[in-house]
């Protein structure tokens, strides 16, 4: 897929979403948003609203599934869960991110420590 700018953003966010779902199991939208904010040490100024288009996209890709259920406080909410395809995608993206991160890291080292 040729990624455009929003794709990149959704892509990163999407990775965070599926990782969250892998770690904590099925969650509704607000819990996912809170979890991402907590993990990033509240450093990520996430507009919680941007989560929903990302969730929809992930669902279209069949990486997550959704159903209506009840929240802890008894509210009717949509609960998202990771699918098997999503788990596979997560492993792929994890590997890619680590590779990319290590490359970037090495580059950064070069600039710090010129030959």
């Amino acid at each position: 897929m040729t990624p455009d700018k929003s794709d990149v953003l959704y892509g990163t966010l999407g990775l965070m979403v599926i990782k969250t779902l892998e770690a904590l199991g099925p969650l509704h939208g607000y819990r996912i948003a809170r979890r991402i904010e907590q993990i990033s040490g509240n450093q990520l100024a996430l507009n919680q609203g941007t989560l929903y288009p990302a969730l929809l996209k992930l669902e279209q890709m069949d990486w997550i599934s959704s159903r209506w259920g009840l929240s802890e406080s008894g509210r009717r909410v949509k609960i998202y869960a990771l699918t098997r395809a999503g788990r596979r995608q997560l492993h792929r993206e994890e590997a890619q991110w680590q590779r990319a991160a290590s490359i970037v890291e090495r580059f950064l080292k070069i600039s710090e420590d010129p030959l």
């Binding site: 897929m1 509704h28 939208g29 607000y30 819990r31 948003a33 809170r34 507009n47 919680q48 609203g49 941007t50 929903y52 288009p53 929809l56 996209k57 669902e59 279209q60 890709m61 069949d62 929240s71 406080s73 509210r75 009717r76 909410v77 949509k78 395809a85």
Partner: protein, 877 residues
């Protein structure tokens, strides 16, 4: 496939957008509520918590907007990106694109045109109210192998009284009608119908009204006219209503105008007059009968009931007419008979085979191209495109290609439909209604998309299988194409040959039938014979006057230079003669039977003029006058039927039952059988009497044998001769006899030439297919060939290897195709004449032809392979 799923979920979203909107609202609302709860727990007041929740969420409307975009709009955007890319790729290789598009366009055009015929003739419902409940009813006489006989009004009346299946029964028949107009008298086609015919059909006049039963019984001169007649005579003006026509010498008032194209099957007329359905007794006249089933009654139930009614009626019929039955035939089956249906389906199937072959060829081309593009695909895969993306791109390309071809094909088809309407067989019912409608366009679209998928699928699948290894392994020169690509292409060539042979065998069998039919002894020698149909003017009413007029006309014509001989008959061709009672004297006594036969008055020179041979006895002479012994000539079919194994000359026969007061005729001659009900049908029993001894008919056909190869050139002189005798005599239908006989063959000619055309196209495409494959396989195997030669293979070995490859493919295809052809032959055997469905000659000839074509297609590439220079082939890296 993920892409497909996204597409589907987006399409679903498009369809259910309101519900999805509501769900999104609910979801956001509960999100905000949950967030507010959290803030309240942190100690904020409910109002502050609500605002904080809003803040951390961001703009609700913006979110919804993005959400909606994700849901639907990106779909269009991505689609247009794919389309642009596909168009660019196709433009980059114009040779491939043009070849593929032209091939597919022709195939789609042929398919669409053929479908439009099937659509108009077979699929569109007949233009009556609830046409599926209309049936033709026929009198059946198993002893005479007669299934579709006309029926007497008395019988119809009895059927109606004794049966429950039909809501109503109506009768109709054609009548020859003379129209007296300002320019003189002319012959037009008239119909005589029962007053309830239009209500039974559920048809309303476009203007005016139909007749009532009372008016009909009163015998008021009323007439309905056809739309065509209305346009031609009255310019479509409403003044026509109430206008008077003079028909057969008596006035008739126009009460209504029928809808355009109104006809009952092949039955058509310009003026429609009612006949009374209440006549005492069971007269000699018989009618076509049409009935409307009551709701819920099936044709089977109606048939069962009518069979019982027929048996019940037998007791009331004269002894020689017992054992009659009633046949119920759905109107649609009567309008287009089983043979025409079969032929049309076969032609439709044939043209679809051509389409498949064309698609196979284009597939093969695009497979070859996809191998060449393997490197491009590998690069794109390396750059991050996943397999699904590449497959989708390939499919988009082929669908774009197919849609372009489809548009071109549809334009061509419109043109083809015009050709079919102009040159198709005129006696194929409803052919004049062939047109492009939504269903035809839908079919064009379906075939185009099918072509796109067929053409794109194989390259896509092989691309997926190739696993897009970026190593470039597949593009290595040591491997000849991809193995799977090659396997598919070989299978395609085998399939092409199999389909081609099925079509060729079909065409071969039809050609053999055509050859048989055109060489069958028609009982005529039609060359150089001109036919002119003449009526006496309405002022001539006394029979003796007509006899005198006819003989003076013949004398005048015989005096025209260039005329060899001239004869006259009342009506030469009759599709469906009525059955009548005939009584004959035999060794074992006098026999009366109801029989389908013709009886015509002729003049002495008639047989000599049309070239019908005398088998026994003599022709008529001028001695067979009104006062001489009544004589008759019969054909061989009647001789066989009435005097089997005996010489009929000198025997007597008469029309009507044993006790009828008609006079006895003595048979003086037996002539050869004339195929007067169509070249393809065996001659019926026929008898002829001298014109001078008969009541002279109201209109006659003059047959003139000329000394010119182009008898039509004499038409002017002959018309003038008729006019010299009687200037008011209506003359119509001047045509060479050959042409009149030829009209019987138009449907067969149409079928034969179309199937032959299709099979030639199939053959050429199969040849191109195998040529392309072999050519390509040699191009990719140059190195291998060089290697083989380097280690000692002779040029001849290489030649044999390549030719062997081609032959294996074509022979496999031929073997498969012959099985299909046998099946097709049996399915279509009712279309064949004078040849069996498994005719060994056709099968052998076609197999040899196809093998020869395959060899020829492989010969040139193989020759080139022989000339490969091993040094150069191996050196190139």
């Amino acid at each position: 496939m993920t892409r497909l799923r996204i597409l589907l979920s987006r399409l679903r979203a498009l369809l259910r957008s309101r519900r999805m909107d509501r769900e999104m609202d609910d979801e956001i609302a509960s999100h905000l509520a949950e967030a507010a709860d959290d803030y309240v727990r942190q100690g904020l007041s409910p109002e502050e918590a609500r605002r904080a929740a809003q803040r951390s969420f961001g703009g609700v409307p913006q979110t919804k907007e993005v959400y909606r975009q994700v849901r639907s709009f990106t779909l269009l955007e991505e689609l247009s990106r794919d389309l642009r890319y596909a168009l660019r790729t196709l433009r980059k290789s114009p040779a491939f694109t043009l070849t593929a598009a032209a091939t597919l366009a022709l195939a789609i055009a042929a398919n669409t045109a053929m479908f439009s015929v099937l659509n108009a003739v077979l699929l569109r419902p007949l233009p009556y109210r609830s046409p599926e409940r209309l049936a033709m009813l026929w009198t059946e006489d198993p002893t005479q192998n007669l299934r579709e006989g006309r029926s007497a009004l008395w019988d119809v009346d009895q059927w109606q009284r004794r049966s429950q299946s039909f809501a109503d029964l109506a009768t109709f028949d054609s009548v020859s009608t003379l129209l007296t107009g300002p320019e003189g008298v002319e012959q037009i086609v008239g119909a005589s119908i029962s007053p309830n015919l239009l209500p039974v059909l559920g048809v309303q006049p476009v203007l005016g009204r139909s007749f009532s039963a009372e008016e009909t019984e009163l015998g008021q001169g009323l007439v309905l006219i056809s739309h065509r007649f209305w346009q031609a005579r009255f310019g479509g003006s409403s003044d026509a209503l109430g206008a008077r026509l003079v028909l057969n010498g008596s006035p008739a008032r126009i009460v209504g105008i029928l809808p355009a194209d109104f006809q009952i099957g092949r039955f058509d007329a310009d003026v429609w007059q009612p006949h009374s359905t209440h006549r005492g007794g069971r007269g000699p006249q018989t009618w076509f009968v049409i009935g409307r089933l009551r709701p819920g009654v099936t044709f089977e139930q109606a048939q069962a009931e009518m069979s019982a009614v027929g048996r019940g009626l037998n007791d009331q019929l004269p002894a020689n007419e017992r054992n009659q039955g009633v046949t119920v035939v759905p109107l649609s089956l009567y309008v287009v008979g089983p043979q025409s249906r079969l032929a049309l389906w076969i032609l439709g199937g044939a043209v679809f085979c051509v389409f498949l072959i064309a698609a196979a060829n284009v597939t093969s081309l695009s497979l070859a191209r996809s191998t060449a593009r393997a490197r491009e695909m590998a690069v794109r895969a390396a750059l991050g495109a996943n397999a699904g993306r590449i497959v989708r791109q390939l499919l988009t390309e082929s669908v774009v290609l197919a849609v372009v071809s489809g548009v071109m094909g549809t334009v061509l088809a419109v043109w083809g439909i015009r050709l079919i309407r102009a040159f198709g067989p005129a006696n194929l019912p409803r052919l004049n209604q062939v047109s492009v409608d939504l269903r035809v366009l839908g079919w064009a679209l379906v075939t185009s998309l099918l072509a796109g998928i067929l053409v794109g699928l194989a390259p896509a699948v092989t691309t997926l299988r190739r696993d897009l290894r970026p190593s470039g392994e597949e593009s290595g020169r040591s491997v000849s194409g991809g193995t799977s690509t090659r396997r598919i292409r070989r299978a395609l060539v085998v399939a092409e040959f199999a389909l081609a042979i099925v079509l060729l065998v079909g065409a071969g069998l039809l050609i053999r039938s055509w050859w048989y039919v055109t060489n069958v002894d028609s009982g005529f020698n039609p060359g150089r014979v001109l036919v002119i149909e003449v009526s006496p003017p309405p002022t001539v009413t006394v029979p003796a006057q007509r006899t005198g007029l006819y003989s003076r006309v013949l004398e005048e014509i015989q005096a025209v230079p260039g005329v060899v001989s001239a004869g006259l008959i009342d009506d030469l061709f009759s599709d469906n003669p009525r059955e009548r009672v005939l009584t004959v004297e035999r060794n074992d006594g006098t026999l009366s039977e109801r029989l389908r036969f013709t009886s015509d008055a002729i003049t002495a020179d008639f047989f000599r003029t049309v070239g019908t041979p005398l088998r026994r006895g003599r022709f008529f002479s001028t001695g067979d006058g009104p006062d001489a012994l009544p004589v008759a000539i019969i054909n061989e079919a009647m001789a066989r039927r009435s005097w089997p194994g005996d010489d009929p000359v000198g025997r007597r026969l008469k029309l009507g039952a044993r006790d009828s007061d008609r006079s006895w005729y003595t048979v003086v001659g037996v002539v050869g059988d004339m195929r007067r009900q169509g070249i393809e049908r065996e001659a019926l029993p026929q008898m002829f009497v001298p014109l001078a001894q008969d009541n002279p008919p109201g209109n006659v056909a003059l047959f003139i044998r000329t000394s010119s190869d182009d008898p039509l050139a004499m038409a002017g002189a002959l018309r003038a001769a008729v006019r010299r005798v009687e200037k008011d005599a209506p003359i119509f239908g001047v045509a060479p006899l050959e042409q009149q006989l030829g009209t019987y063959l138009t449907q067969r000619r149409f079928q034969t030439s179309l199937l032959t055309g299709f099979s030639i196209v199939a053959l050429l495409m199969a040849a191109v297919g195998i040529y392309g494959l072999i050519q390509y396989s040699i191009a990719t195997r140059t190195q291998e060939i060089g290697l083989r030669m380097a280690i000692g293979a002779q040029a001849g070995d290489i030649f044999r290897m390549i030719l062997g490859e081609g032959l294996t493919l074509s022979l496999s295809g031929v073997a498969l195709g012959l099985v299909g052809a046998l099946w097709l032959g049996h399915a279509g055997s009712s279309l064949l004449l004078g040849v069996t469905a498994s005719d060994p000659l056709t099968f052998t000839a076609v197999s040899l032809l196809l093998t020869a074509v395959a060899i020829a297609a492989c010969y040139f590439p193989a020759r080139r392979a022989m000339k490969v220079d091993p040094i150069r082939a191996l050196r190139v890296t």
